[in-house]
C-alpha cells in the first residue's frame, strides 16, 4: 500500500442541490440547475460563491467550466477537471477535487453534476444511433441496446451462480423508496412502494421490474471540497475524505461481453484499495450509498465491498437489514437514484456527507463512517469513504 495517500487531507464542507424534478419538469435548463446546486453548496459551507476556484465533474458533464465560472462570477478558475466514464465517475470527481486542494492547485473546488434528461442526452435511451461500430456492433443489432439490458445480463449470471432470487433485488428497491418517504427533496417523497406493487410492476428486462430501474430526472447536486485545515474553520462539521479509489480490474472493458470476471460489478480490486487506504474493514462502515441505477447491480456491489459473502446475500439483502433506523447496513438513505433523484449518482455524495455531519433525513445514529460507491458494472468505477 502507498503511504502517500489522500487520507484526511481534504473534506467535504458544503452540500447543495437544486430542486429535484421528474424528467422534463425543471423550469430552468440544465445550466441553471448546475448554478443553483453550486450556489446552495457554497451557502451551506458558509463561503462566498466567489471563493470557489475549482470545478470538477464526470460523465461528460455538458455545462463546461468556463461558462460556469463566467456565469457564477468566479474571480479565478484555478482547476477544472472531468473524470472519464459515466456514473462510475462520481467518487472519482470528488477524489480529483481532493487531490487538487491537497496539492494546492485550488482552494475550494465545487464538485457537481447537472442533468435535465433530454436536453443533452437521455441515458436510458441507450445507444441506437446509425452505424453501430466496434463493441456496440456485437450487441445492438440483437436489441441489446440499453444499460438496463446489459447489466441485467450480468445480474442474471450472478443470480445463477449464487442462487439469488428476486427477493434480494426487491429489498434494494424497497429500501430506497422507504428512505425517500422521509426526504422532502425526493421525487418519490409521499409515494411509498409496497412489495406487492413491486411484484405487479411490469418487466423492463428480466430480471428487472420497473422499480428495479432508476428514474429519469431533472436536477443538480454539488459539494464543496477544501483542505482539512480550512475545513476546521468553516460553518459545517467537515466530512473528511478517508479514502478514495478509481479504476477497474484486469480487462474490465466497458461494454465488453468478454470481461474475464463477468458476473461482477467490477469492485473486487477497487474495494480492496479503498479499505487499505482507509485502514478499516467492512464492519466499520455505518452507512452506504451505492449507485442504484439497477437494483441487481447493488446486490453484487454490496458483496464485492465485503459486507457479506456472495453466497450469504439472500440473508443479508433484506429490507430489514438495509433500512434505517434499525437495519445492519442502511443503504441509500436519501432514496438513492431509484427514489430521490437520478443525478447520475452525485446526490449520493451529498447524502454520504450528511450522514457523517449528522443531518440526514434518515440519520443513522452516531454514524462515523460513511461509504459512497459509484457506477456498478460500468468501468472505470470509483468509490470513497468519509468520516466525521
Amino acid at each position: 500500500m502507498e503511504h502517500n495517500t489522500i487520507k484526511d487531507k481534504a473534506a467535504i464542507v458544503g452540500v447543495g442541490e437544486s430542486a429535484y424534478y421528474k424528467r422534463g419538469g425543471s423550469p430552468v435548463p440544465e445550466f441553471g440547475l448546475a448554478c443553483q446546486a453550486i450556489i446552495n453548496a457554497a451557502n451551506d459551507a458558509g463561503i462566498k460563491v466567489t471563493d470557489i476556484d475549482g470545478l470538477a465533474s464526470f460523465a461528460m458533464e455538458a455545462n463546461e467550466p468556463s461558462r460556469l465560472a463566467g456565469g457564477l462570477g468566479l474571480r479565478e478558475l484555478n482547476f477544472c477537471n472531468m473524470a472519464w466514464t459515466g456514473g462510475g465517475g462520481v467518487a472519482a470527481a470528488v477524489a480529483n477535487a481532493a487531490a487538487a486542494v491537497a496539492c494546492g492547485y485550488a482552494r475550494y473546488v465545487a464538485v457537481f453534476r447537472a442533468l435535465a434528461q433530454g436536453q443533452t442526452f437521455r441515458f436510458g435511451q441507450g445507444t441506437t444511433g446509425p452505424g453501430m461500430a466496434g463493441l456496440m456492433g456485437f450487441t445492438v443489432p440483437y436489441g441489446l441496446t440499453t444499460p438496463a439490458q446489459k447489466i441485467a445480463m450480468r445480474v442474471r449470471r450472478f443470480m445463477h451462480e449464487h442462487k439469488i432470487t428476486q427477493d434480494a433485488l426487491a429489498a434494494v428497491s424497497l429500501a430506497s423508496y422507504h428512505h425517500a418517504q422521509f426526504n422532502p427533496r425526493a421525487v418519490m417523497y409521499g409515494r411509498p412502494l409496497t412489495r406487492e406493487a413491486y411484484d405487479n410492476s411490469r418487466w423492463i428486462v428480466e430480471p428487472f421490474h420497473l422499480y428495479d430501474c432508476c428514474m429519469e430526472n431533472d436536477g443538480a447536486s454539488a459539494v464543496i471540497v477544501t483542505t482539512a485545515e480550512r475545513a476546521r474553520d468553516l460553518r459545517q462539521k467537515p466530512a473528511y475524505i478517508m479514502a478514495a479509489a478509481q479504476g477497474s480490474d484486469y480487462r474490465d472493458i466497458h461494454d465488453s461481453e468478454n470481461v474475464p470476471d463477468f458476473p461482477s460489478a467490477n469492485y473486487k480490486h477497487l474495494s480492496r484499495r479503498l479499505y487499505e487506504m482507509a485502514g478499516i474493514e467492512p464492519k466499520d462502515v455505518d452507512v452506504v450509498q451505492s449507485y442504484d441505477h439497477f437494483s441487481g447491480a447493488v446486490v453484487i456491489t454490496l458483496a464485492e465491498h465485503g459486507f457479506c459473502h456472495p453466497d450469504e446475500l439472500m440473508d443479508f439483502c433484506t429490507l430489514e437489514n438495509l433500512t434505517w433506523p434499525n437495519g445492519k447496513l442502511p443503504l441509500n438513505t436519501s432514496g438513492g437514484n431509484l427514489a430521490e433523484c437520478y443525478v447520475i449518482g452525485m446526490q449520493l455524495v451529498n447524502e454520504a456527507a450528511r450522514q457523517v455531519r449528522g443531518d440526514s433525513t434518515c440519520q443513522v445514529k452516531d454514524a462515523e463512517i460513511s461509504m459512497m460507491i459509484s457506477g456498478s458494472v460500468t468501468t472505470p468505477a470509483s468509490n470513497l469513504i468519509l468520516h466525521r
Partner: protein, 151 residues
C-alpha cells in the same frame, strides 16, 4: 447446423442500426466471415491467444500479428435476458424477445451475444446447448449470428 433464414423470418424488425465494421477496420474479417456463414475469432499469430472482440494487438503478448480462427457454431447459454420494454420504440411489436450470451467451448469459452430463436416466452436454462443460425439481411449486406436450442 447452419440454417439460412429468409427476409420474412427476421427475429427482430429491421429497426436497429445494422452491425458496422469499426472505422479502423479491426473487426472487418469477423463481419465478412458471418456473410460466408462462418464464425471466426481473432487468433494471435505469435502466441495463439484467442480474443472475441477484435483489437489491433494481442492482449497476452502484445503482438500486432493477427490471424483468425474459424470455430464451429456450437455453444452453451451463459446468460440471458428477456426484453419487455422496447428501446428503440420501433421494437415494440417484437417484445418480449430474448437475447442470449453464448459461450463457445471451441474458443476458450469466449462469449458472443445473439437472439434465441423460438418462443420468446420459453423457459431458458443457463448451460443449455445451442447452435448457430445465420440470419442474412441480403439487401442491406450483412448477416446476424442467431442461436437456437440444439436438437
Amino acid at each position: 447446423m447452419a440454417t439460412e433464414t429468409s427476409g420474412s423470418q427476421y427475429y427482430l424488425p429491421e429497426a436497429l442500426p445494422p452491425p458496422h465494421p469499426a472505422p479502423d477496420g479491426r473487426d472487418l474479417e469477423f463481419w465478412e466471415a458471418l456473410k460466408r456463414h462462418q464464425i471466426v475469432v481473432q487468433r494471435c499469430n505469435s502466441c495463439g491467444n484467442l480474443q472475441m472482440e477484435p483489437e489491433w494487438l494481442c492482449h497476452k503478448c502484445l503482438s500486432f500479428d493477427r490471424g483468425w480462427q474459424q470455430v464451429e457454431g456450437k455453444g452453451r447459454i451463459y446468460s440471458w435476458v428477456r426484453i419487455w420494454h422496447p428501446v428503440p420504440a420501433a421494437l415494440k411489436p417484437a417484445c418480449p424477445f430474448v437475447v442470449v450470451l453464448v459461450e463457445l467451448p471451441q474458443a476458450n469459452n469466449l462469449r458472443i451475444a445473439g437472439n434465441l430463436l423460438g418462443d420468446p416466452q420459453q423457459p431458458i436454462e443457463i448451460g443449455a446447448p445451442v447452435e448457430a443460425v445465420f440470419e442474412d439481411h441480403r439487401e442491406k449486406g450483412y448477416t446476424l449470428l442467431q442461436w437456437r436450442l440444439a436438437r
